[in-house]
């Protein structure tokens, strides 16, 4: 974990007032870009990552050596074609891939910040990433796109900067974290904090890592990303490398083995404190509350075109919650398209090979890019 890799990074010197009241400055935001910015600077797409994502959207992730987390969507000849678009993705504030987060070293002590890191929000994340856009001297993005927590950032971005993106595509997300969402996040946090190696968040001072707790958090969360049908079809009651039950607590079932594996690989690439902070930011997200309980007020000033996408088997951020975003946009006359994609892959559908999703998204982005460019001429 936290291998030092050459990450693109900017230090934001402008003071940023966080929602918790604290002001920060001179903090790093790590990012990656794909494709080329054209001379009119009209082809930039800002992608926001989800809870456990990072800036490595496409290609090989230099830290994990696996494919970028959105390789189905972003890349050469992919729905977001990097031959055509300039794609930017930043590690969110609170993350552990080079941006300002709990594992950042406090220069005065030489130690990780740990739980002295301030509580951050989706709004703070978005405001920090806006600094990156300014640094890259992009006056107006062609699109802001993201799924899950990335979708929340899309909504917050347009609310904060109504004239900075021509197109916004929030996918499989919500405008406000539900009790069920908060409950699952709390389960994960409690698993981490119950690990004796957590040490109130200062585990790095003792060269410890609450990896058991973090693995359990990941296992629980992973279940929420799948669907009942998907799980049943893929695993059912199939046994793992054995012909009969062993009458013990080993991983008899494939699903157990699968979840244990998911937990174990996760702890190698993710920081436990980052998991606490980012899930907290998601729980605090309530866009309509920021606008006195009226979600449509958040979009009142925007000329941005919206395309909202949900998935049939996503029970974490179900279609009904995505529809609420559509309703709020319609009630202020915003330009919004919406479709619920058929898929039994649950919330994770947006990350996976779901052909009708990939085709609709790609075709939509490309035709809209063409229409907007033609209109300008």
């Amino acid at each position: 974990m936290n291998k030092i890799i050459d990450t693109k990074k900017i230090i934001i010197s402008n003071p940023l007032k966080l929602d918790c009241g604290k002001e920060i400055n001179n903090f790093p935001i790590a990012y990656e870009t794909y494709g080329e910015l054209n001379s009119e600077k009209s082809n930039a797409i800002l992608v926001f990552h989800a809870l456990t994502g990072d800036q490595y959207v496409s290609g090989k992730n230099p830290i994990t050596n696996k494919d970028g987390w959105w390789s189905y969507v972003v890349g050469e000849n992919k729905p977001i074609d990097t031959n055509k678009f300039f794609v930017i993705c930043a590690n969110v504030m609170g993350g552990c891939m080079g941006s300002y987060g709990p594992s950042t070293i406090n220069e005065s002590t030489g130690k990780q910040i740990g739980t002295d890191f301030p509580i951050i929000t989706i709004n703070d994340m978005v405001n920090a990433q806006y600094e990156l856009i300014k640094y890259l001297e992009i006056e107006k993005l062609f699109a802001v796109v993201g799924g899950s927590m990335g979708g929340m950032q899309v909504l917050q971005f347009v609310a904060n900067f109504p004239d900075k993106a021509k197109l916004a595509i929030p996918i499989a997300c919500t405008s406000s974290h539900s009790a069920q969402n908060i409950a699952f996040n709390e389960l994960g946090r409690q698993a981490i904090m119950a690990d004796s190696k957590w040490e109130n968040g200062f585990y790095s001072n003792y060269k410890l890592n609450p990896d058991k707790g973090l693995a359990v958090a990941r296992m629980a969360a992973h279940i929420t990303y799948l669907s009942e049908k998907g799980l049943q079809e893929k695993f059912g009651r199939k046994l793992q490398d054995r012909d009969s039950l062993r009458y013990g607590f080993e991983a008899d079932f494939q699903i157990e083995s699968y979840l244990r594996y998911q937990g174990s690989v996760f702890v190698d690439r993710f920081d436990a404190n980052s998991y606490l902070y980012i899930t907290r930011a998601m729980d605090y997200f309530d866009l309509s509350k920021q606008y006195k309980g009226n979600l449509s007020e958040a979009f009142k000033k925007t000329k941005t075109k919206f395309f909202v996408i949900s998935f049939t088997s996503d029970w974490l951020y179900p279609t009904s919650e995505n529809r609420e975003i559509v309703i709020a946009l319609n009630s202020v006359g915003a330009d919004v398209g919406f479709v619920e994609i058929e898929s039994d892959k649950g919330h994770d559908s947006f990350l996976l090979d779901v052909p009708s999703f990939l085709k609709t998204l790609g075709d939509y982005i490309n035709s809209t890019y063409k229409i907007i460019n033609e209109r300008r001429i």
Partner: protein
């Protein structure tokens, strides 16, 4: 189809805000976008068709007119179009009321069940009519509430809905419908097109 699109297009003023309810694969939306106005949205119940529209860059929402028109503010569109789908709703009266709320003006087109070819099939063959315009069999038709031009005309006057323009279409022949030729047009036309307002 083209004639119907032309007539609808002629009823619409340029650069107005339009909603096409039951927009299908977006053919009418595309036609109007090229000829009348860029500011056009669609509502469609079939996922596949919604995806088709979105792929063309059209702004379409997956939804059901019976439950999802409510989300649009009152008079938020200059025109709302309902092309040959009124008969497919569980409650056409409710849909018409919703359309009249959302749109300042509403364009409704109706496959005429009173057309003589339709009548003859029932009269002589004794079977439910199947025509070019109404291609389904009784057991698989999506059409729950077929009506005639005369039915819709009478419906509007009973409900105090103002008819601005009513046009009858037979093949590619276009004519106006009025009180005195209503019975004849009801027999002689396969499609009725109405521009109405509450």
């Amino acid at each position: 189809m083209k004639e119907e699109f032309n007539i609808i297009s002629n009823l619409i003023e340029e650069n107005t805000r339009v909603l096409d309810v039951g927009c299908g694969n977006g053919d009418l939306m595309k036609f109007l976008q090229e000829n009348k106005t860029k500011d056009i949205r669609g509502l469609e119940i079939s996922k596949e068709k919604v995806q088709n529209c979105l792929s063309k860059g059209l702004t379409v929402i997956e939804g059901n007119a019976e439950s999802d028109l409510k989300q649009f503010p009152k008079s938020s569109f200059d025109y709302v179009i309902l092309s040959q789908t009124l008969q497919a709703f569980l409650n056409p009266e409710l849909v018409i009321n919703e359309l009249l709320k959302v749109g300042k003006k509403v364009i409704v087109t109706i496959p005429n069940f009173g057309y003589w070819r339709v009548r003859l099939q029932l009269l002589f063959k004794g079977t439910m009519p199947v025509t070019e315009n109404l291609p389904h069999e009784w057991y698989n038709t999506p059409n729950l509430h077929m009506c005639t031009i005369k039915d819709f005309y009478n419906f509007c006057s009973t409900k105090n809905i103002k008819i601005y323009k009513s046009i009858a279409l037979k093949k590619s022949r276009i004519s106006e419908i009025n009180k005195s030729n209503l019975n004849y047009k009801n027999l002689d036309s396969h499609l009725g097109i109405f521009l109405i307002e509450s």
